[in-house]
C-alpha cells in the first residue's frame, strides 16, 4: 500500500540538493486538537471513532495540502508498513499499534502528516529540514486555521485547546528539533546538557522519541510545557536553548579535535572503512559509524554536499526500511542487505581529506 509513497520519498531525499545544516537535522511542530462534543479516542466506541474519522477525512480532502496526498486507515496497513511509517516519522509508535478507527493522512510534499484518533482526535505535524521554527509555525498555523474553519474544535478560554492528556493542554503545541550531537557525546558532556535541558523544562529523547536510545548521537529536544505561554514564547524559549546547545556542540568538536586529533581521525577513518567494506552490519553499529561520517563532513574532511546523503542513509538503514516489502527476512539477511546498501552508497564518496 505504501510502496509508491516510500519510493517517492527515497527518490526525493536522495536527489535533494538543499543544504543540510550541520547540527540540526530537522525541526518538527505538532498540534494536538480535538472535536467538541465527542469523547476523546480512548473513551470513544468504534462507531463514534468511525464518525470522527470520516468527518475529519472529508475536511482534509478539501485542503490543497492533502488533496493529492495519501490517506491510510490503520487496519489496512501491515505491521511492517506501520514500522516504515514510524521510521519516516510520519506516524507515532502509539498510532502504529492502533486498529480500526484510526488513520493517517500524509501530504503530497510529505512535509505534513495528520494522525486521526491517536491520543487526540487530531495530531497535526509538519517536519522540515534544518532549524526553522518560526517559518514552520506560520505553515502549521495557517493549516490549523483552515481546519478550524470546518471542524468544531474543543476549546476553553481558561485551558485553551482541550486535549486527552493535560500535558498537552493550552496551545497543544509540541516543538521538537532533531539534533546530531557527536561532539557532546564523545567529550562526555551530553549528560550535563540533558540535565540542564530538563531543568529548563525541555525533554530530550532519542531518534524515535520516548524511550528510544540515542544511536547515531541523534537527540530530539522538545518543549514539555504547553499551557501558560504563547506559541511564540514557547518557540523562542526552545530556540534560545538550542542555540546554546549548538554552540556547545561545535565548541566540543573543535576542542576534542585539538586535544585528540589522531584519535578523532582514527575513529572517523575506521567508520569510513567499515561502512565502505562491511558485509554484515546491524542498524546500531551503522548509525554510530554514519554519525562519525556526518561529523567528518562538518569538519571539512568530506565535501558538504554529502551530508544530505548521510541523513538519507540514517533512515534507509532502519530495520523496517531494510525489510520492506518482504516482512519475513531474517536478521542476518537484513544485516547483509544493510551492508550492501551502505557499500553501494559509499562508492559515491571521495576519500577523506584531512589536510584542511
Amino acid at each position: 500500500m505504501i510502496e509508491e509513497l516510500i519510493k517517492k520519498a527515497s527518490a526525493k531525499s536522495a536527489k535533494s540538493t538543499s543544504k543540510a545544516s550541520s547540527v540540526v537535522i530537522s525541526s518538527r511542530l505538532r498540534l494536538a486538537r480535538n472535536l467538541r462534543d465527542c469523547p476523546f479516542p480512548n473513551r470513544a466506541d468504534i462507531t463514534q471513532k468511525r464518525e470522527i474519522l470520516s468527518n475529519i477525512e472529508a475536511v482534509l480532502n478539501h485542503t490543497s495540502c492533502m488533496k493529492k496526498g495519501n490517506f491510510f486507515k490503520m487496519e489496512e496497513l501491515s505491521s511492517l508498513e506501520r514500522k516504515v511509517l514510524v521510521e519516516r516519522h510520519w506516524i507515532s509508535r502509539e498510532l502504529s499499534e492502533m486498529e480500526e478507527g484510526s488513520a493517517v493522512s500524509i501530504s503530497s510534499d510529505q512535509l505534513c502528516s495528520v494522525m486521526i484518533n491517536e491520543e487526540d482526535h487530531l495530531r497535526i505535524q509538519f517536519i522540515k529540514n534544518g532549524f526553522n521554527l518560526n517559518a514552520l509555525w506560520k505553515t502549521v498555523n495557517d493549516f490549523d486555521d483552515l481546519l478550524e474553519d470546518k471542524l468544531p474544535y474543543a476549546f476553553s478560554r481558561k485551558f485553551g485547546y482541550l486535549t486527552a492528556c493535560p500535558t498537552n493542554l493550552g496551545t497543544g503545541l509540541r516543538a521538537s528539533v532533531m539534533m546530531h550531537l557527536p561532539g557532546l557525546s564523545i567529550s562526555d558532556n551530553i549528560e550535563k546538557v540533558i540535565r540542564a535541558s530538563n531543568q529548563l523544562g525541555l525533554a530530550v529523547r532519542g531518534l524515535f522519541g520516548e524511550g528510544s536510545d540515542a544511536s547515531g548521537h541523534i537527540y530530539q529536544i522538545s518543549n514539555q510545557q504547553t499551557l501558560g505561554e504563547s506559541e511564540k514564547d514557547i518557540l523562542d524559549r526552545l530556540a534560545g536553548v538550542l542555540k546554546n546547545i549548538i554552540e556547545h556542540e561545535l565548541n566540543g568538536r573543535i576542542k576534542y579535535y585539538e586535544n585528540n586529533k589522531e584519535k578523532l581521525i582514527d575513529m572517523i577513518s575506521r567508520s569510513y572503512g567499515i561502512l565502505q567494506s562491511a558485509h554484515l552490519i546491524d542498524s546500531d553499529e551503522a548509525m554510530n559509524h554514519l554519525s562519525f561520517i556526518r561529523m567528518a563532513i562538518d569538519l571539512g574532511f568530506l565535501p558538504e554536499e554529502f551530508r544530505r546523503l548521510i541523513d538519507f542513509l540514517f533512515i534507509e538503514i532502519q530495520p523496517g526500511h531494510i525489510q520492506y516489502p518482504d516482512s519475513n527476512i531474517s536478521v542476518e539477511i537484513r544485516d547483509i542487505k544493510r551492508a550492501q546498501i551502505l557499500r553501494n552508497n559509499f562508492k559515491k564518496l571521495p576519500s577523506l581529506n584531512f589536510d584542511k
Binding site: R43, F155, C165, G228, E229, D282
Partner: protein
Amino acid sequence: MSNKLKCSLCDENATVHLTQIINNQIQKIDLCESCAQKKGVTDSEGFSLAEMLSNTDYSSNSLQQNCKSCGLMLSEFKKSGRFGCTVCYTSFESFLEPILDEMHIGNQHIGKLPVKCLENISKGEQITLLEEKLQNAIKCEAYEDAALYRDELNALMESLNADSNNDNL
C-alpha cells in the same frame, strides 16, 4: 556498540537501565520501554505524569467521583493520565489545578484563539443569559419583553445551528 542489552523481562532491546542499591547490594536491571512502563520505572530526571499523579493525595471518596458527561472516574484518570472527554476538565477542575501548576508555566491559556470557536462560546453564553431573562420576564408576566427575548434567542440558536451544519460538511 553492537552488543545491545536485552530487556530482562522480554527479548526487546533495553533502553531503560536501572541501578538500585538494596541491602548494600547493587542491583542492575535492563528493561525495554514497554516493560519499564508496566513496572512503573520512570526517569527520575525527566518529567513523569504518572509519578505526579500518584503523589497527589486523593481521598478514597473523591476517587469514585465521575465525570458527569462521559462517566470517567477520577481513579481511572489517576491510572492512565488521560481524560475521557472535554467535560472532564470541568468535572475534575479542582483536582486538576494543583497538577497544572506543577506541570505547566501557568494555568491560564495564553496563545492562539480559534476565532470561530470563540464566537460559538460567546453565542452559547448569550443564549444562557437570554434564557434566564426570558424565564424572569415570564415570571413577572412581562410578556412584551419575553417576546423580544424569545425572538433574539431563536435568531441566535439559528445562527449556531447554521454554523454546526457547515462544520459537518
